[in-house]
């Protein structure tokens, strides 16, 4: 299958991952356990985009607001919509990233890197300092990707395992709670 077909056919995997991660984060109040790392902070905030259907029947729902106002987005889930974009705060090891994840293509948008000495200062005319600054920014981008890949690994392993049914029931319970709320 070529990439264009794969993107269309497997679009749901990224969206299910993001929806699952939202549930996982809310399950323990913004904390997710990552194997090998321990607890990390994953908070969904401010901006969400949910999607339903393909092509002409594609519907989108945009929700903005503080964390407590994501009720409408939850209600969107009860209508069968899936999460396509979300603004996430991710923190571990004294680092904090803010970024928007577009799920289907796994795009990282408007990524705000953790503030560190190396990325904030530095003499632009000194090649050594410049290389140091570049390497530090690369490290911070790659750390974010590594953590997100670890989370994706947890989801994918679960998604193809026998335990997924049980997990899905828990996610559904959470989604349906929004309807009753």
């Amino acid at each position: 299958m070529d990439l264009v077909d794969l993107i269309v056919e497997k679009r749901f995997i990224g969206q299910e991952f993001l929806t699952w991660l939202w549930w996982k984060s809310e399950e323990r109040g913004g904390v997710v356990a990552l194997p090998g790392e321990g607890d990390i902070v994953v908070v969904f905030e401010k901006h969400m985009l949910l999607e339903y259907g393909e092509g002409e029947s594609n519907e989108k729902l945009i929700c903005r607001g503080l964390q407590t106002e994501l009720q409408e987005a939850r209600t969107g889930l009860t209508m069968g919509k899936k999460l396509e974009q979300a603004r996430i705060q991710l923190a571990y090891n004294d680092y904090e990233w803010n970024f928007t994840m577009a799920a289907a293509l796994m795009e990282f948008r408007n990524v705000k890197l953790p503030k560190t000495g190396g990325t904030e200062s530095g003499n632009k005319n000194n090649p050594e300092e410049q290389e140091g600054m570049i390497l530090e920014r690369i490290f911070l981008f790659e750390e974010l990707i590594r953590v997100m890949m670890d989370l994706l690994r947890v989801f994918l392993k679960l998604r193809v395992s026998a335990e997924w049914r049980e997990e899905l029931l828990k996610v559904r319970e959470w989604v349906n709670k929004a309807e009753r709320a």
Binding site: M106, E107, R109, L135, F141, L156, K157
Partner: protein, 201 residues
């Protein structure tokens, strides 16, 4: 922007294919061969190539300025002469009016209209200043992945072509399904290929 300062948007690619043993020599040669060529003083419509991430006017790469540790950092620069549809329409109509007046004719033949449009388009294109666009990338040689700092799909298509031409390597966008190839075991991958969307309510 975004790679070197401020907030950034990016997508990940895997780099598929074999690099020769003398990696850095190969990269040095290819980056310079496919470096950006300025079209400010020519009439060319389009130019695409590599420049330094630190300076869009540097396409010489003295001291291998693209190398940072085990990473290659480059910017893809695209300069393009464009004429907006509204401007083209205006000048074509103006020319048609001029000819009608000059020849004292009420209407211009279709074939001549086509000729006028092509001629005006060429004239305007020559006058248009090339509009630059610069997109950064960071290529990790150790794990053969690449971050491209734009979510613009047209720019991504240009990148895939330029990268292939420059290094004989193919870029494959890492959508979540393809990330699975690097995250799962063989038997899990077969299952992943078979699953269909689940309903979450």
């Amino acid at each position: 922007m975004g790679f070197l300062n401020g907030t950034a948007s990016f997508v990940r690619f895997s780099v598929e294919g074999e690099l020769p043993e003398n990696i850095w020599d190969f990269i040095a040669e290819r980056v310079v061969s496919f470096a950006f060529r300025d079209i400010d003083d020519t009439y060319e419509e389009f130019s695409l190539g590599w420049v330094s991430v630190l300076n869009m006017f540097d396409s010489e790469f003295d001291f291998a300025s693209y190398a940072a540790g085990n990473y290659v950092t480059l910017s893809m620069r695209l300069d393009e002469r464009k004429v907006s549809a509204a401007i083209l329409k205006k000048y074509v109509q103006k020319e048609e009016e001029r000819i009608k007046k000059e020849k004292q004719i009420p209407k211009i033949a279709k074939s001549q209209k086509t000729e006028i449009k092509e001629r005006i388009q060429n004239e305007l294109m020559r006058k248009a200043l090339p509009v630059p666009a610069v997109y950064d990338l960071c290529w990790n040689l150790e794990n053969s992945t690449l971050l491209f700092f734009s979510t613009n799909q047209k720019a991504q298509a240009y990148l895939e072509d330029l990268f292939k031409d420059s290094f004989d390597l193919t870029l494959v966008q890492q959508i979540p399904y393809l990330c699975g190839e690097h995250l799962l075991e063989e038997d899990e991958l077969d299952k992943l290929a078979a699953i269909t969307a689940d309903v979450f309510l």
